[in-house]
């Protein structure tokens, strides 16, 4: 079936079966591979994108449910909050293997868009769903704090 999706401000036409997860539409269909596959069961957060501004697990979001939605992926994360988060991630040298980091960043952008000055506990709670096998959490939390300061400045 043909579907029209609004991704990163553009309308994209894709051919996919109903029930296909957005994750695989992005990665295989549209060759937008910044969004990562980690578990397939919405448990690790590697596949996080924004659907209408809300961090969403794309591995359990299905193509037929997205007709009227605005989808933002890491490739399209360019607003002020995104820029602050990415700059903070680089300053703190958060990444190791990097596979989870698109998802971490999309969640962090979601957090700071909702709550520009989160407490330490609020950061840990919000970011709990994004697993990092390299265990970069110490730096992730420092980077979220730094991004928050950048946005305040």
């Amino acid at each position: 079936m043909q579907y029209q999706l609004k991704i990163n401000g553009e309308t994209r036409t894709v051919d996919a079966e109903p029930g296909t997860p957005l994750l695989w539409v992005l990665r295989d269909g549209l060759e937008m591979t910044g969004t990562k596959f980690g578990c397939g069961v919405a448990y690790c957060g590697a596949c996080t994108v924004h659907v209408d501004g809300t961090p969403t697990r794309s591995c359990q979001t299905f193509i037929e449910d997205l007709a009227d939605s605005e989808i933002t992926t890491i490739e399209g994360a360019q607003d002020k909050v995104a820029q602050a988060v990415q700059a903070a991630w680089r300053e703190k040298d958060v990444v190791q293997c990097g596979w989870c980091q698109s998802g971490q960043i999309m969640s962090a952008i979601g957090l700071l868009s909702e709550n520009p000055k989160p407490s330490d506990d609020e950061i840990k709670d919000y970011m709990h769903g994004n697993a990092c096998r390299c265990v970069t959490y110490v730096r992730i939390n420092e980077a979220v704090k730094l991004a928050s300061q950048k946005l305040e400045a």
């Binding site: 079966e17 296909t20 997860p21 695989w24 990665r27 295989d28 269909g29 060759e31 937008m32 591979t33 910044g34 969004t35 990562k36 596959f37 980690g38 578990c39 397939g40 069961v41 448990y43 690790c44 590697a46 992926t73 890491i74 490739e75 994360a77 990415q86 991630w89 680089r90 300053e91 040298d93 958060v94 990444v95 190791q96 293997c97 990097g98 596979w99 989870c100 980091q101 698109s102 960043i105 950061i123 840990k124 709670d125 970011m127 709990h128 994004n130 697993a131 990092c132 096998r133 390299c134 265990v135 970069t136 959490y137 110490v138 730096r139 992730i140 939390n141």
Partner: protein, 723 residues
């Protein structure tokens, strides 16, 4: 001499001056630069400098997050005095001699050796390039080479100055020195700079970093494999009628080795669905069919009569009379579960047909293993197999496999596909959890003999574990029937222990096992450091002071460990009677000492507040990367020690995905304070050594607060929960 016209230069439209200087060790190990592109094949370039002055460092060790693209680059940029912001990296192609790991004599990454083996090689490559550029500038300006200074990719003499690229053309006509002079540590500008940023941190924060799973090629088909639910099972027949109902399904075929059935499809999602829909009949006659409990008991039974003596200086029989005459003994038995590596990028490999061979797209950890394995399956010469190394989304040992298992699977799938189009094999998370190659299950039994004064007079230590290396391509590492990875950490203990008998039994099971970040040390350090804590408790000694007393300061590694222990003791403010946990361990030529600060509620609910870690790893090339590896290594250890295990029921893995193999989450990770012992010695490993001492430090903290010893991992088995 070799000068390559760079693509970058062509793009800039400055072909007349466009050039690239390539410097490295040639096949004979002699530094060389060369001007003929045709010579590139027998030439080993680590350093390329384009006409615009951009330095490209060729990285011979794949990047799984451990920091090779930053570390190896630092070594070259240091000697060249390059501008860090004008340095880029590329991964080396497969070439087993030119890009060999100098410790392995083959191309591959592992054992925390990337910096250690490359330290002089990459520095000399940078120094040779610097020397050529200086002489080129001297000739160009008509000045004495000694008058030229280099800073941030710019050469200066008097009022003359120019960037690297301006001298590439002349430099490529000069003969490089055979043995370039490298800097002395006091001249380092980049080495030791904690503010240097990772080379991969832009592409990994904007989605552009290319991992193997990100490969998309025209006409590519996707493959997923249904493997035997019991290890060692083989396919007898299959029915794909249900798979045919999956949109995008292409075909299904039995793999030539009967290890599974591969489903081909038009995308990954369809491949997974079609694979799941295959109905496969299996022959389990040679398969593992035991339960975890039985496997544990079978390991313990092997401790009664060890097969091999792992300490050539003394046998267990010789230690027996010492034990019999002891005033007191300390006895303990430990068990360790199978563990999955679970890199977050699940295994995958793409094989693409190219003229006269294939190209393998892989986060390739061991090109020396992948290349011949793929070649053999496809009936090709190794030279016909090109390897395109991409970023790897973690490994923790999983991608360094003597069997090159997932590369071999991809080659088998490509072979049965007809070899006309690229085939991308992708593992799901369930494949990863259930796919074997685990950290082996292990059991230890120890008896420490004390005299009437509480002094150690003998130690009987026994290990039962399946050998990683026996029967593998690494068989040559076996000495006197001992697989060193089975007992490392006991045999290499730094402590002065008299009459230290060490016995080993090899466990047999079809469950495939593999090294897992820090290998044998994952279990040996836990046993040894728990025993040391028991010894301190039994004899009323401070655990840190007791260890210091058992380390001979005249031993070079003991002296390093003493420095690490004292550093962590001081930074943590450790006091006698401290209710925190201490452990230390020597592995991969590095010393790490850890103090764990925890809070226990209701005797069983544990929160890890903070870890203090001190590391002695020789000269610290990238202090911030070392710190990151200590943080990550500690977190990796905590995850496993607390609650991870792969269990079998009738030979079938019970875990499916992360919900039943819980990774450490944000909020569970303690604060970590890392200190690095200052040293100008050659650098040693950092990727693995943070793992071994962290688990026992936590266990010893739990004992300090609850009086309860933990002998069977994971800790959840002892009734602890982690909050």
């Amino acid at each position: 001499m070799n000068i390559n016209v760079s693509r970058r230069g062509f793009l800039a439209g400055s072909a007349a001056t466009a050039g690239a200087l390539l410097v490295g060790l040639n096949a004979k190990g002699v530094l060389a630069a060369t001007a003929q592109a045709s010579q590139v094949t027998d030439f080993n370039p680590f350093v390329k400098i384009d006409a615009d002055g951009t330095l490209t460092v060729v990285i011979k060790h794949f990047e799984m997050g451990q920091g090779t693209t930053t570390g190896l680059t630092t070594l070259v940029a240091e000697e060249l005095d390059a501008d860090w912001n004008r340095v880029t990296t590329e991964f080396a192609p497969a070439n087993n001699s030119k890009y060999a790991n100098l410790f392995f004599s083959m191309q591959g990454t592992g054992g925390s050796t990337s910096i250690a083996n490359s330290y002089m090689q990459y520095r000399e490559a940078g120094a040779a390039a610097r020397d050529l550029l200086i002489r080129a500038a001297a000739r160009s300006w008509g000045v004495d080479p000694a008058s030229i200074r280099v800073e941030k990719s710019v050469l200066t003499s008097g009022d003359k100055s120019g960037h690297f690229g301006e001298f590439v053309a002349i430099a490529s006509t000069l003969t490089p020195v055979e043995k370039p002079t490298v800097k002395t540590p006091d001249q380092f500008r980049l080495i030791g700079d904690a503010t240097l940023h990772r080379k991969d941190n832009t592409s990994k924060t904007n989605g552009t970093a290319q991992f193997a799973m990100d490969v998309n090629l025209p006409g590519m088909v996707y493959a997923a494999i249904q493997r035997s639910p019991k290890f060692g099972g083989t396919v007898t027949s299959f029915d794909d009628s249900a798979a045919k109902n999956v949109a995008g399904f292409v075909a299904a075929q039995v793999l030539p080795n009967k290890a599974g059935v591969v489903a081909f499809a038009k995308n990954t999602w369809a491949a997974f669905q079609a694979r799941d829909a295959l109905n496969v009949e299996w022959d389990f006659s040679k398969a593992e069919t035991r339960n975890t409990d039985t496997l544990i008991e079978d390991h313990k039974a092997l401790l009664d009569k060890p097969q091999f003596n792992a300490n050539p200086e003394i046998t267990l029989d010789e230690v027996a009379p010492v034990l019999a005459g002891a005033a007191k003994t300390i006895d303990a038995e430990f068990t360790f579960p199978f563990l999955a590596h679970a890199p977050l990028e699940a295994l995958n490999c793409t094989i693409e047909p190219i003229e006269n061979g294939v190209r393998v797209h892989d986060g390739c950890q061991m090109p020396a293993l992948t290349r011949p394995t793929v070649a053999k399956i496809l009936g090709l010469e190794p030279e016909q197999v090109e390897i395109k190394t991409l970023y790897a989304g973690g490994s923790f040992g999983r991608r360094a496999n003597p069997d090159a298992d997932y590369n071999a699977e991809a080659a088998l799938a490509f072979a049965v596909s007809g070899r006309k189009v690229p085939v991308k094999l992708v593992w799901s998370r369930e494949d990863d959890m259930r796919g074997g190659y685990y950290r082996p299950m292990a059991a230890h039994r120890a008896k420490i003999a004390l005299d009437a004064d509480g002094k150690v007079i003998g130690w009987d230590h026994r290990v039962a574990v399946k050998s990683i290396m026996k029967g593998s391509l690494f068989q040559g590492m076996i000495k006197n029937d001992i697989d060193p990875t089975s007992v490392e950490g006991v045999t290499e203990s730094l402590y002065s222990v008299p009459n230290f008998g060490i016995g080993l039994s090899d466990f047999q099971t079809p469950v495939p096992i593999l090294w897992w970040r820090s290998v044998g040390n994952t279990h040996t350090a836990f046993a040894m450091e728990t025993l040391m804590d028991m010894l301190a408790d039994e004899t009323g000694q401070d655990p840190i002071e007791m260890r210091l007393a058992m380390l001979d300061p005249n031993g070079p590694n003991q002296a390093r460990m003493i420095n690490a222990i004292k550093l962590v003791r001081d930074m943590s403010g450790w006091k006698k009677g401290d209710k925190r946990g201490f452990a230390c361990h020597f592995s991969f030529n590095t010393c790490v000492a850890v103090v764990a600060d925890i809070t226990v509620t209701d005797d069983t609910s544990v929160h890890v507040n903070k870890l203090f870690m001190a590391v002695e790893c020789g000269v610290a090339i990238n202090p911030d990367v070392i710190k990151a590896q200590m943080e990550g290594g500690a977190g990796f250890a905590l995850t496993a020690i607390m609650r991870n295990e792969i269990t079998l029921a009738d030979g079938e893995v019970e875990q499916q995905n992360f919900p039943d193999y819980e990774l450490l989450r944000n909020g569970e990770m303690p604060a970590v304070e890392v200190a690095i012992v200052k040293s100008n010695n050659a650098p040693t490993g950092v990727g693995e050594p943070g793992v071994p001492p962290t688990g026992p430090a936590l266990a010893n903290a739990i004992f300090a607060q609850t009086g309860k010893r933990i002998f069977d991992l994971p800790m959840t088995k002892a009734g602890f929960e982690f909050v």
